[in-house]
Amino acid sequence: MDQEQQPDTHARLAPGAPSIDSSRIAEVSLGTARADLERREQVFHVGDLSVAYGGKLALDGVSLDIYGNTVTAFIGPSGCGKSTFIRCFNRMNDLIVGAGVEGVVQYHGKDLYAKDVDPVEVRRRIGMVFQKPNPFPKSIYDNVAFGPRVLGQKKGLADVVESCLRRAALWDEVKDRLEDGALGLSGGQQQRLCIARALATSPDVLLMDEPASALDPIATAAIEDLMHDLKREYTIIVVTHNMQQAARVADMTAFFSVNIHEDGKGRHGILVEYDATTKIFTQPADKRTEDYVTGRFG
């Protein structure tokens, strides 16, 4: 499988890099790739995270670390809790009545769910792009300027709009019609506009919840190229049900699966395996991962 697994020249070597699980690397031939990734700054640390909706368990006991300037993909069958999980990183689950999050999510070492943390501030630093493009029914310009405006910025908006549209590879297509309505753009353009809009609040993480599932193959390729470019400046977490996409864009991949309860009624998601993408797709450690990536299941 053709993959971008080369060490990224932009990788930041964090001074206090997390300890590396050397035994694991020794046993894995592809361990060097993972070791390189793990030397990067640890942006998120998730410890024993469980999410329940109205008392019903949706996701149980997930622990993993997310590294800076890396694309991390969450894959797995429907109902495995991957979308639920990604929403824990910017506290979007808070908005659902009856949702309960237990466990630890640390962002640069700070507990995201601590009492003194304002979810509004979290969401500014950790941007999100949704499955279905959701541009606001405003002009292209106003869409990108929305984030800075709600944060109180009034000056220099034109520069912000231009630089974000450039970074989202949309500037050349829309520079002559910034005042046109965003709903007139094609689906792929709308999704890139949503990415530009998310970049405008200067986040350092981008969460993407199946960002290309509503797009055609060409628009999908554009989004994937963009993810490659963006990881130089941002940490990207992407949920996808498309395994090829995970293989193409992600450095690290987490495979989630569904645990059906013994009574046969309830079900919840679990993290099965988390490793370098190459390893997940070529030498998975878990039988369930192997079945899934080889297409025997899911």
């Binding site: 910017n90 979007m92 908005l95 009545v97 009856g98 509004v120 501030e121 969401r123 500014r124 630093r125 941007g127 999100m128 949704f130 279905k132 959701n134 541009p135 606001f136 029914p137 929305f146 984030g147 709600v150 944060l151 709903l183 949503c194 809009r197 998310a198 405008a200 609040t201």
Partner: protein, 280 residues
Amino acid sequence: MSRKARGRLFVGAMVLCLAVSFGTLGWLLVTTFVDGIPGLTSKLFTAPPSTQPDEAGARPAILATVYIAALLLLMAVPIGVATAIYLEEYAHKERWYNRLLELNIQNLAAVPAIVYGILGLAFVVRGPFGIGRVLLAGAIILTLVVLPTVIISSREAIRAVPESISQGGLALGATKWQVIWRQILPAAIPGIATGSILALSRAVGETAPLLLIGALQYVAFDPTVLGPFTALPVQIYTWIKLPDPEFQALAAAAIIVLLAIVLTMNAVAIFLRNRFRQNW
């Protein structure tokens, strides 16, 4: 009977029902216009009522109706929209008191206007507020009449704004209030405006609660907000009771004016709905 014949019979029955409703309406309109056109003179708009039919006009009543409509807009729309925002965006739908509130609002929309008149007479005209038989009292009572409708239609307009839009705003670090103020309300305004105007146009034609609180039947001076008043429907009612056919003609003319006001409001509502309709 063959299946085709049964189908034709059914269509025929539907056309008959349509004819009954439209025929009645058309006949009413025709007779009103035939009776009223001669009375539609400039005097109707400039002169106060009089015991002499050829000197009588409806200026105080028309002005009062316009004032009432304006006051309704100022009172019913902000209160109704604020209530709708609370119920849609803040209220926990699982809580019993919020569900009770919802049920009550729906029931209140079906309460006859005269019941609000009784309430108004007891609480606004007399009782705790005791502001007397003034135009403001009439406007307050009509506000109560239309409030449930304004709340229900505003809620529907707010609910029609897709969740993905507010989620997008929140994900950008906007506060809940910013999302409501900058995204949900602007997107819901066409629906809110349409519903509110239709509710208002209904209220403008209400007679019973105004009669009950004692709108005067002869007002020879221009109304003020805190003064005694009449209103167009009350004026029509007054004239229609009189035996003199010339007053009947005046009543018909006043009906045409009231119809024109109501239809204009409805036309504005339809225009707003079509002009600002949002396709998500």
